[in-house]
Symmetry: C2
């Protein structure tokens, strides 16, 4: 990845999922919008709870189907947008993602993952075809050139995560999202922002995390990204290329 020029306005999609509008996580959503707008970025938002977004992938996501008798969801996704048969709520979200230079997912961690309403936004919006398909994933994914950033809160404390910690590395617990979802479709994935132990902190500790978050949002252009596999290291059947295999240890 290259560091973005500091003063270039960018398009940012803020996706937010929290059931309590007054929550710390919801305040992060509003603060991120303010900081980005002040920096001159364009911002669009998807506030999933406020929208009452339907997270359940189903046959009704397609107004017409290639195979009306038997649903293979990913197969129907491939041509649905081009054919104008994708459900409107999905189509609008796809527009936003394709418009954005940066997509921020802001949520409280539920079960080491996203709340279901956000998982379902991914299930329904990350279309086979436009977003990925065949050999178009990881560094050849359909969203190559865009960035994604997970900004999340959780109940756990920092010392519960890490190599020898009780839950292991938090990025490893979130591999399905960071690598298997955002990395898979081609995003450069910024290092996540985690607000630890939020429900149990006093106001001063929360304020310090909130300030750190605003600072990090203001500096998203220069935030480091995570490393994922390159398809250059695999052959056309996705077997590892011998020459670039992992070193023995």
């Amino acid at each position: 990845m290259s560091i973005l020029k500091e003063d270039t306005p960018r398009r940012v999609l803020l996706v937010h999922a929290h059931p309590e509008p007054q929550s710390f996580t919801s305040s992060m959503f509003h603060a991120a919008r303010d900081v980005l707008l002040q920096a001159g970025d364009e911002v669009r938002t998807t506030d999933l709870y406020a929208m009452n977004f339907n997270p359940v992938a189903s046959a009704s996501d397609f107004l017409a189907r290639d195979n009306p008798d038997y649903l293979v969801y990913a197969k129907e996704q491939r041509s649905a947008r081009d054919n104008g048969v994708l459900a409107t709520d999905i189509d609008e979200e796809v527009d936003k993602v394709l418009w954005a230079d940066l997509v921020i997912l802001n949520f409280p961690i539920f079960w080491f993952s996203a709340p279901a309403i956000l998982k379902g936004w991914i299930d329904r919006v990350f279309l086979s075809g436009p977003f990925y398909g065949g050999m178009r994933f990881y560094d050849r994914g359909g969203l190559k050139g865009k960035r994604a950033w997970v900004t999340a809160t959780l109940g756990g404390r920092p010392h519960m995560f890490g190599k020898d910690a009780v839950h292991g590395d938090i990025d490893a617990m979130l591999a399905h999202l960071l690598r298997g979802t955002l990395g898979y479709v081609g995003f450069d994935v910024l290092e996540p922002f985690f607000g630890y132990h939020i429900p149990y902190l006093d106001d001063a500790a929360r304020a310090a995390i909130f300030d750190a978050f605003r600072h990090d949002v203001a500096n998203w252009r220069t935030r480091p990204t995570l490393s994922f596999p390159s398809l250059d290291d695999f052959d056309e059947h996705l077997h590892p290329r011998t020459a670039s295999g992992a070193a023995p240890c």
Copy 2:
């Protein structure tokens, strides 16, 4: 874990999530029920799509709240069931999980995780309090003594998973579910069953996987389980105990 006596009837909850009732994954659900009943097990089912299950955790999950002005979902969960204020659809699912000796989650992998309708079943049903809390997790979790089993289908091929493979180890991608969810609440987690490449296989290849699945269901009592941390290796603040720390390497 101890191997269960082969001939003891057990209570099994089958949780299923697939949008196509004719799908291979849905056939697995029905076959699992048949095989278990033939073996003398008691079976209850949760067919999430058929039930039109609501996967979105929200304020309306509590008929009354400890704090009506500000929702902290996990905090409200703690006493809601005992106080009789938990939404009926959640309460019924909690009953089933607490009844079961084995809980099977049967689903197609969407984004290296469960479909949102199943993620939301976890978000809403795995109650703080009865299922976990404080130092009650992993091998001290509230569901200690029960088993859980992920039986899933996916589009990928086996060689795409493993140490040097393009997606890494599949159990690592599913760590949030296997360890961070099922292991967290105390289940002994059976080695998952994966049906690879299902949407692209011919009938003969599918039939072979189906036979293997029926065989594995018939033999669930002796299926090996995954290993997770023991809280015995951590102190009362969840710092690793020095004496049992990981060996340097």
